[in-house]
């Protein structure tokens, strides 16, 4: 049984907090790589952000699938096929060069037996243009402020700060993965990001709630430093974190699997991919970034420094060994 059995019994005891140097450098590296990706590669934005080309024509006896294949065969990355009216068709692609446009036009004409001049070409602007994106950014800013305010009241300002840093960390890394992989960013992807925001915070909040409960008992005579107590609390909620992450990721993974293998490109893939990536990063960050960061902030407080000094001098141990004694203290 090994690991699974110990997990089930809640006997797992990992020193997340003590290994903060490892997590910080790992996250720092990931952030640097992500930022570099965003800077040099940029995001592969979809039609909704960049605008695109619409091909419209009239054809009887064809299907969405046929039109889609016909257009994709010409080296187009993304296409949205729509039926307009009874036998009108509309294929929206990303912005195309003059040559590709002509190519797609003649391909459609050939495949569906319509004269070339009956396939009209229209360039459309982004439906998620400047204003929409700008509003989204403002929304994000206000959202973060609101969360900081709320968490400062419900918990304390340092916890709010740690949670927000972890959140930004998740967003940047997820965006970085998109930049490097060249996955397409569509409105569906953005909605996926937004879900991650809520989800990542939810996770951190549950962990912090436990830390608050455990560390509230710390006093002059306590046998634990703040970091030990925090680590203890973290291990306590570890099973919950892993369980909930698993429960949330299972459906997403199923959607991603079907979306990529069976259907190929589309809304389904865009959305589930960003969720999948974001959730994994989010679980990692609430365990390995948010909590160690909180501990780093808290250990500077005189009260907890005093406890740490006293325990160090009496040989109570700290850092990596701390968690072990913490576990003992708990049971």
């Amino acid at each position: 049984m090994g690991l699974a059995r110990r997990l089930y019994r809640g006997e797992i005891d990992v020193d997340f907090v003590g290994k903060w140097r490892l997590w910080y450098s790992l996250s720092g590296l990931l952030l640097a790589v992500s930022l570099a990706g965003l800077l040099f590669n940029g995001l592969n934005l979809g039609v909704e952000f960049k605008g695109g080309t619409i091909f419209s024509f009239k054809a009887t006896q064809t299907t969405v699938q046929e039109v889609r294949e016909s257009v994709l065969d010409e080296g187009v990355h993304q296409v949205i096929v729509q039926q307009a009216g009874t036998d009108g068709w509309r294929a929206t692609t990303e912005s195309l060069s003059e040559d590709t446009r002509a190519q797609v036009q003649s391909a459609i004409a050939k495949d569906f037996n319509v004269p070339v001049d009956q396939v009209s070409i229209q360039a459309i602007g982004p439906s998620w243009g400047g204003e929409v994106s700008q509003k989204a950014w403002i929304g994000l800013g206000v959202f973060m402020l609101a969360i900081i305010l709320y968490l400062s009241m419900a918990f304390e300002p340092k916890m709010a700060l740690a949670a927000i840093v972890a959140l930004v960390h998740d967003l940047v890394i997820t965006a970085g993965i998109y930049a490097w992989s060249g996955f397409e960013v569509t409105p569906a992807t953005l909605l996926g990001f937004l879900t991650i925001l809520g989800y990542s915070l939810y996770d951190a909040v549950v962990v912090f709630d436990m830390i608050k409960e455990v560390t509230a008992k710390l006093g002059h005579t306590s046998k634990q430093t703040y970091s030990m107590a925090a680590n203890n609390a973290l291990n306590h909620t570890l099973i919950r974190s892993l369980n909930t992450s698993l429960v949330a990721i299972l459906p997403v993974a199923a959607i991603l699997f079907i979306g990529t293998t069976v259907l190929g490109a589309g809304t389904l893939k865009d959305l589930s991919l960003s969720l999948f990536v974001g959730m994994i990063v989010g679980t990692y960050s609430s365990l390995c970034v948010a909590t160690p960061l909180l501990v780093t902030l808290k250990e500077r407080e005189p009260k907890y420094q005093a406890i740490a000094r006293r325990l160090a001098s009496t040989g109570g141990g700290k850092g990596s060994k701390g968690s072990k004694s913490a576990a003992v203290a708990k049971s």
Partner: protein, 623 residues
């Protein structure tokens, strides 16, 4: 209570005979409208103006409900895709595309269309009809009727009495109502003689050849004014003085009779004379008004026509507009806030109008070349805040506020095509999503049962309850609030399974903690764990809910709809955990199977606290 909620939602669903959710653009397709800008000599409109138009149209379309409409530029055209087929309401709203302008009224006349107006008469304002019928009320209407009716049925004055109710009942004030009534009273006596005098002179020159005396024209006008004042009498008693001029001479046939034409461009006056507002063609689309010129226009319902001064304030000067009930009354009002530049202009305009004789004390709100309302200025309004009162109900107030708020379109558009389009998403994507969702759910159920055993059943049942509530809520909201499910929403709801399940897991883990710490009875553990878990669940859900609210109010289009779905599932999560999961577990705790910690119950105390042989630290696997 939970049962009541489900029954209420389900009941609404059955009553409305709506069993399926409304679907969004990507799933169900919709209506696509192409708008082509109308410009002089067909030149392309400047890019930034087109962009502004796109944003305004987007606000308008998405302001109609919680649906995700798409608005995109296509060359010079704007393409709007609205979910659902035959969205006539939305298309109409979008099609009202001209810029909003505020113009001082220079002259006004009632339309000569008695039949049309007679049928409409009682409807516009409830207060108008009773006062017209009873002679006890000292308003203008009773006196108007006797004077005009004997002469001719086609007279100007007959119709003027009743429809006035609507136009006249509106008034513009600064938000403090106290100051406006005395001001109105003071204004009336002075304004009236001046108007009479002028009208008399001008009327003579204009109407001499018709053989009508100026007095008549003036009279007709006067009576109409009386009607206006009569309506206002509701709020300001001193206004009743106005219908004093009662000489009953034959009514005027000449349209200009009784109109003060000072300062009116003769060309516009001629236009005004020809203007037939009883013809709906003259009061809809297709009229382009130049803000720098005087302009003749009809009221939206055709009851009046106006000569209007150049536009001093335009829609872009408005910051916000909202409809509300004035404090302490049941009266619906429309509140307006101007931007700083607009506020100054607005102050000047209202001061000019206030100091002018009737009917020039009115300021018309012109949208798409049609007067949507022409309130009387009851006092100069500095400071950029104004309030339009009178004769509104909730619907008309909200409509006007929306028109004021979103009405500032800088371009004029023609609808060049309206198409019904299929979904942007293949049926395969929807099916794939649903299949994947079912597989995902199956995995979750399997995992819950394997890990939590007996408790897993609670989790699964809770998820079932949550699903039922979500489904019915989405259906009911779809039919009542315009909420439309798109694929991202569906995925969002599937993902929310994770968040809903999280609540159970937090609670279950707490119970197990309590058991491990050696609580004797399960019942005690369930209660103690609940107190702790409840706090965590509420804080965590509050975070989600804040996220949803902020995103809903600040974001647009698809994001707003998504935020709405997120907030909804968070609320449902709380409802299910409090009203179903907790009571259900408490109930189970009384059963032997769980209370005794049967190995399959998931609460097997022995298995949980058994000391392990190895204490090795292991790196956890991250999902």
């Amino acid at each position: 209570m939970l049962l009541a909620l489900i029954l209420a939602l389900g009941g609404t669903m059955f009553l409305q005979k709506a069993y399926t959710p409304k679907l969004g653009l990507d799933l169900a397709g919709g209506t696509t409208v192409t708008l082509t800008p109308v410009t002089q000599n067909n030149a392309s409109p400047p890019e930034e103006i087109l962009d502004r138009a796109v944003n305004i149209i987007r606000d308008r379309v998405n302001g109609t409900g919680i649906s995700d409409a798409e608005v995109a530029k296509s060359g010079d055209n704007i393409i709007i895709s609205i979910p659902g087929v035959g969205q006539n309401e939305a298309i109409k709203l979008v099609a009202t595309t001209a810029e909003l302008r505020f113009r001082q009224v220079l002259a006004v006349a009632a339309t000569q269309a008695p039949q049309d107006l007679a049928t409409n008469a009682p409807t516009p304002s409830g207060s108008a009809s009773p006062s017209a019928g009873t002679s006890t009320s000292p308003t203008a209407q009773p006196s108007t009727q006797p004077s005009s009716q004997p002469s001719t049925s086609q007279s100007i004055t007959t119709p003027s009495a009743s429809p006035t109710g609507k136009a006249l009942s509106s008034a513009l004030t600064a938000p403090t109502p106290a100051s406006s009534a005395p001001a109105q009273g003071a204004a009336d006596p002075t304004a009236k003689p001046a108007a009479t005098q002028k009208t008399g002179q001008d009327g003579k020159t204009q109407t001499g050849q018709d053989g009508k005396t100026t007095q008549t024209g003036q009279d007709g006008k006067q009576q109409e004014q009386g009607g206006k004042k009569g309506q206002e009498a509701k709020t300001s008693p001193s206004a009743k003085a106005s219908p004093s001029a009662q000489p009953s001479t034959p009514p005027a046939q000449d349209p200009n009779a009784g109109i003060d034409t000072t300062g009116i461009d003769p060309a516009v006056l001629e236009q005004f004379n020809k203007l037939d507002c009883s013809n709906p063609a003259n009061r809809g689309q297709g009229v382009q008004d130049d803000p720098a010129k005087q302009y003749a226009a009809c009221e939206t319902d055709g009851s009046f026509k106006y000569v209007l001064d150049v536009a001093k304030v335009v829609g872009t000067d408005i910051d916000t507009a909202s409809a509300g009930v004035r404090q302490g009354t049941t009266e619906w009002v429309v509140q307006l806030d101007f931007k700083s530049k607009g506020a100054g202009e607005w102050g000047k305009l209202t001061t000019t109008a206030y100091n002018s004789p009737e009917p020039r004390n009115m300021v018309a709100v012109v949208l798409d070349g049609v007067v949507i309302t022409a309130p009387v200025i009851q006092s100069p309004i500095p400071g950029g805040r104004a309030e339009i009162t009178g004769g509104f109900d909730q619907l008309s107030a909200t409509n006007l506020a929306d028109q004021l708020k979103y009405g500032a379109l800088p371009l004029k558009f023609n609808r060049s095509s309206v198409d019904t389009v299929s979904s942007t998403l293949g049926q395969d994507q929807l099916e794939g999503g649903l299949i994947a969702g079912v597989i995902g759910l199956g995995l979750v159920v399997l995992y819950c049962l394997l890990y939590y055993r007996g408790l897993g059943i609670v989790a699964v049942l809770s998820l079932v309850v949550a699903t039922i509530i979500t489904y019915t809520a989405v259906v009911v909201l779809g039919h009542n609030a315009g909420f439309r499910l798109s694929l991202p929403h569906i995925i969002g709801l599937v993902v929310s399974i994770g968040i809903t399940a999280d609540s159970f897991i937090v609670y279950f883990e707490r119970i197990r903690d309590e058991m491990k710490e050696g609580r004797r009875t399960l019942r005690a553990a369930v209660e103690v764990a609940w107190v702790r878990a409840r706090r965590t669940i509420l804080i965590a859900d509050a975070v989600m809910f804040i996220a949803a609210i902020v995103l809903y109010f600040l974001a647009v289009g698809g994001v707003a709809g998504f935020a709405f779905a997120m907030g909804l599932t968070t609320l449902i999560d709380i409802v299910v955990v409090f009203l179903f999961t907790k009571p259900f577990i408490a109930l189970l705790a009384k059963m032997k199977f769980f209370a005794k910690g049967h190995p399959l119950s998931g609460l097997d105390a022995e298995r949980m606290s058994e000391t392990s042989s190895t204490g090795r630290t292991t790196t956890p696997q991250e999902a």
